[in-house]
Amino acid sequence: MDANTMKETQAIQVNKKSTKTTHRITGSEAIIRCLIAEGVDILYGYPGGAIMPVYDELYKYQDKIHHVLTRHEQCAAHAAQGYARISGRVGVAMATSGPGATNLITGIADAQIDSTPMVCITGQVFSHLLGSDAFQETDIIGISTPVTKWNHQITKASEIPSVIAKAFYIAKSGRPGPVLIDITKDAQVEEFDFEYEKCTAVRSYNPVPTTNPETVAKAADLINSAKNPMIVWGQGVILAEAENELKAVIEKSGVPAAWTILGASAIPTSHPLNIGMVGMHGNYAPNKLTNECDVLIAIGMRFDDRVTGKLDTYAKQAKIIHFEIDPAEVDKNVKSDIAVLGDAKESLRQLLPLLEEKSYPQWLQKFKDLYAIEFEKVIKNDLYPTKEGLTMGEVLKEINIQTKAEAAIVSDVGQHQMIACRYAEFNTTKSNITSGGLGTMGFALPAAIGAKMAAPDREVVAIIGDGGYQMTIQELGTIFQQRVPVKIVVLNNEFLGMVRQWQQLFFDKRYASTEMTNPDFVAIAKGYFIEAKKVTKRDELKEAVAEMIACDGPYFLEVCVEKEDNVFPMIPAGASVSDVRLS
């Protein structure tokens, strides 16, 4: 035996050894074991031809990982979003190729614009059929590219562990977002030596810019020298788990603080320096005073057009400090004077010791005075109505009281969403789950399923309009089958209310296709064996909410509200924040 032959023989022996120590499994089994290794306990999905080998493995691993069959793939994505939003963990959705994959897209786009960590796994036709218009083949990589943080197609089983590890790392790190992994059927059935290693870095990707202490010091100086400063925080605070740091900064600096819709619940509603919501249907005071403050401190928010109104007239008098993790957001919409790049938690931690202890009693009084005006003109009528018809606001008030502001509120899109975000009271962070950036009707019911399953100890109340409810109403089936004790409140005004409001205000009341002839929602809920009740009068409301909260299982409550109520305050589209209307 010559030297070379000896080497070869040794190599074969080593190989034989390594096949014994590593485990030779199929791509499908590898997918499940990767998910388990990433700590996934629940995933949402819908089977079909090109993903069947993976479902076969899910069957074998059902004691370790719980697959929830939704009634539509879009809802698998939304459920994964709800799961992620309440827990801060990565939500997982799975679908087959073709229509299964395309149905995920709305949820993926929603997760992208709202920075929600999510991994979607789609089956794909055999790799030799790619590009041939095979049955249920669709170019999901091409379709999902603009709405994913990252996506990748796997055609070989051996790629599965490293790609899934990378998917979870990318979805969760830095500014989170959705990742789609498309796996051909041949990769699912192929066998290979499985080994799993978590991903901790990708060389072309810098998830968190390092906070620069000098920039933080400049920001601190500007804040300390301000006369009328104001904070606007966004979801970045929640994603960075920087709630305590933000609270400390607010309390030490004495700066009044407002929030964007996705920032809601990071600081308790009752906090004396919490001055409410900014934006199109935000509170009067913080919108108005955005254009009077001298320093505007934006933390983990991206100056969305629904927040800023007309950019040319947005906080032009103020110096802007922008705490932001994503460099692409800096100066995108609003030019900042100081941009503190980095993770909000770290940046605020560095900021805190540099801040002077201050208070702004006169400035704060201005917020209180404007609140009094808003209360008189809007809030009083919403929360303590004297007219006959029920208001959406009083339903929220009743839920606040009976859940002691401890519920997670999952809202859909439209008037009820704005009312929910304005009036829901929160003691706990990660409690306002809603589709902010994309405005996806149909989001709430499936997202509430995901939220409740991720946080079974919390009360999860879905607040939905009669329009959005009917976009994903089939998920009552999922709730029934999985016995998810989620509380569903439909605020029924028999209109697509927000569109109708715009038609009233800007289109001379031409109610084009906004009136809804609705079915018997209670009968439908009961058809799914879900306890259900309908309220039409004010004196029935308290008891009905009590019955809902007391119920151990899922519960459906329909509240028939005033048909043509409007949501105010309102900044008309394209108007300035200081032109916020009260009627």
Partner: protein, 174 residues
Amino acid sequence: MEKQLFTVSIYTENNIGLLNRISAIFQRRHINIESLNTSASEIEGVSRFTIVVSVPEEQIKKIIGQIDKQIEVIKAYYHRDEDTIYQESCLFKIKSDLLFEERQIQNIIKESNARIVTVNKEFFVIEKSGKREEIELLYRELSVFGIMQFTRSGRISVTKDEMKISKMLEAFNQ
């Protein structure tokens, strides 16, 4: 703000879907790509995109931010023409008869520093590298005689300043 011509250089991992991802960023903002070239770079396994667009500077900054944040983009830059050395290349296919019948053509080829790539009985092919204006001048001069085919490449460019991509990648490895 006024539109200007910018050259965008993007160093990326060699990835199939990345071209789509990058071009979508321009498409969303309704920006026409004047030219686009992808090739290997000086670093093994790293690709380089060279894209020319005409946009206001304020906008190109935002676009660079959105390109830079794509996972497989290592680094994106934008440059003005004076910051780069750049060239385009083009090919002309012309009837061979003209080479002998129109003596002027030979002078044009010589004066423009173009090069004859091939000649056969039917046609000959001229290659010219240079600035856009030089290529356009040559086109105008040759079009008098009739051009069978013409094609021009996208711009390729290198910067006068150092790009420091290798250093960035080394820093990652440590």
